[in-house]
Amino acid sequence: MSETPLDFEKGAHEALGSATLQQALGKFQTGYPLLRARAMQSLPDFEKVRTKAARIKDFSLKNLDKLTDQYREKVEANGGTVHICETAADARKTVVEICRQAEAKKITKSKSMVTEELALNDALEAAGMEVLETDLGEYIIQLAGERPSHIVGPALHKTKEEVAQLFKAHHKTRRKRETGEQLVREAREVLREKYFASEVGITGANFLIAETGTAVIVTNEGNADLCRILPNTHIVVTSMEKVIPTLDDLSVFLRLLARSASGQEMTSYTTLVSGPRGPGESEGPSSFHVVIVDGGRSKLLGTDQQALLRCIKCGACMNVCPVYMSVGGHTYGWVYPGPIGAVLNPVLNGFGTMYHNYQASTFCGACEEVCPVKIPLTKIMRDWRTRAFQERIPGLGARLALWLWAAIAANPFLYNLAAGAGIPILRALAGKKGVLKSLPLAKGWMKGRVLDAPEGGRFVRGRKR
């Protein structure tokens, strides 16, 4: 593998040193579990429901071609167009082309992680169009020129003061920017006019329903709806694994999604769109497109790790992840942070580049406990480590050390010999207090920590027969 792993430790170091980020994460780490627990009270059979959800997804993935065809036929019968794109580049080209045909100058967009994955905004801007993110969090980070740090709360890492600064710099108006309330209002007013002035609205989709040719879009703010209703063209950009068979299946996912994502029983707006405006309707787009991206996902179909395509992007896994809650989203270095990123990023963006994503985990398993579609996240992380090891992505030193450990531990004679030599050395280094403060092979451990020295002697070996 020629790809150099993206530096994780450097990002982690910065994140750990940022007081504002740590404050935001700390608030989230205590707040989210309480909200989720409260919302789960009205879903006492969570285990049963999520098992059902996982089954629906497995069925859908197994029959993906058929269901996608069915979805496409329905959309076309409703007067819309479906574009299936194998690569990110295809998808970018397709969207830009649709926008050109719509003579778009201004585009309003609601949050979609798939479009982040495609770096769609860059492509549209390069084609001379103005793209405006309308989800408040996305809007904030768009102004800041950053990336989302969380898939549900993209601006989680920003303080109110930082937002006020951004608004001041970009809106160039004088107004009070002291409270969150004022900032929300300002964004509402600024964005309001843009919706009416845009020719194209782009949204993501949380689900595609084969039965009726319906894309389901879930938001709390209502911004996706304005992107849908007001411009003349609506483009849904989403990924291939979103297809599910029926509306009844949707009901199962709706019970899980908001509870998992934000600790709500239901998000404010769940919108089902199935085509352009109908005959006699006075509103809605006259042109409707769905762009379905593969982007490398189909590589997973039929493999042991296919379960990872069950993901409904709720973010619950990162919300309970102790690593995410320490280093924040940007440290992961690509679109999807947290446990889902740890397993998905390598597939979409390279096992070499994304090396640390699946290495930087303690396998604590908190993510699997909350995942609403029961993805075996730690198992897949371990699978990726195995794959990386086979592909020799870890350095020679690391591979040699593991080989050596297995060789020694498989041979009690050698093992005893090594222990007999090592333990006294460590004890001598530790001195009277019995505490090691530095150790060449364990520099990482010593960051803000010491190590108790071995107490001396052995159990297995030192026994009388």
Partner: protein, 171 residues
């Protein structure tokens, strides 16, 4: 055991919506007038062109039956169903029900008859499957618009309405 209507009402409130229960549709205009006054709004509204709303006597209110525009502050829409499980209103787009009514005005009033309430979304699908063609846009609305994007604090009225008033009509 709560009745379906009670469960629905409880869930609407739980989702930060406001609930009003009236005996009949004829009582709606007066309720709207009162609400507008309480909220300090002009007695003016854009109203869904659903036949049962169009036929009402809107005396004292300036009503127009059209999609909402940027200047509209009060919108009145007509739900096709309400889901008790989550306190969710369901709107199907069509000639008489422009979706913008639910999103553009800062104050949103939604009318639903108690007879139109169902327990779960699955029951809504049964009704929707009957509709030909399938509505281009179906809005499921649960409480007012909200955001938690600034320091994880909840603010209402992000892009859509800051207040959602659900009027449950008994008969």
């Amino acid at each position: 055991m709560k009745t379906r209507a009670e469960t629905f009402a409880w869930n609407v409130k739980n989702q930060l919506g406001k609930v009003h229960r009236v005996a009949s549709l004829e009582k709606v205009p007066a309720l709207v007038r009162r609400l507008a006054e309480q909220l300090g709004l002009e007695p003016k509204a854009v109203v869904a062109a659903a036949s049962d709303l169009k036929d009402l006597n809107w005396k004292g209110l300036e009503v127009e039956h059209r999609p909402a525009g940027i200047e509209d502050v009060l919108g009145i829409s007509r739900a096709m169903a309400g889901i008790a499980e989550t306190g969710t209103l369901v709107f199907a787009s069509g000639k008489s029900n422009p979706p913008s009514l639910n999103f553009i005005p800062e104050y949103s009033i939604a009318i639903v008859r108690e007879s139109e309430l169902v327990d779960t979304s699955e029951e809504v699908w049964v009704i929707l499957r009957e509709k030909q063609p399938f509505p281009a846009t179906i809005n499921m609305v649960t409480g007012p618009s909200r955001t938690g994007d600034i320091e994880q604090t909840l603010f209402l009225g992000a892009h859509g309405p800051r207040e959602l008033h659900v009027v449950m009509v008994k008969s």
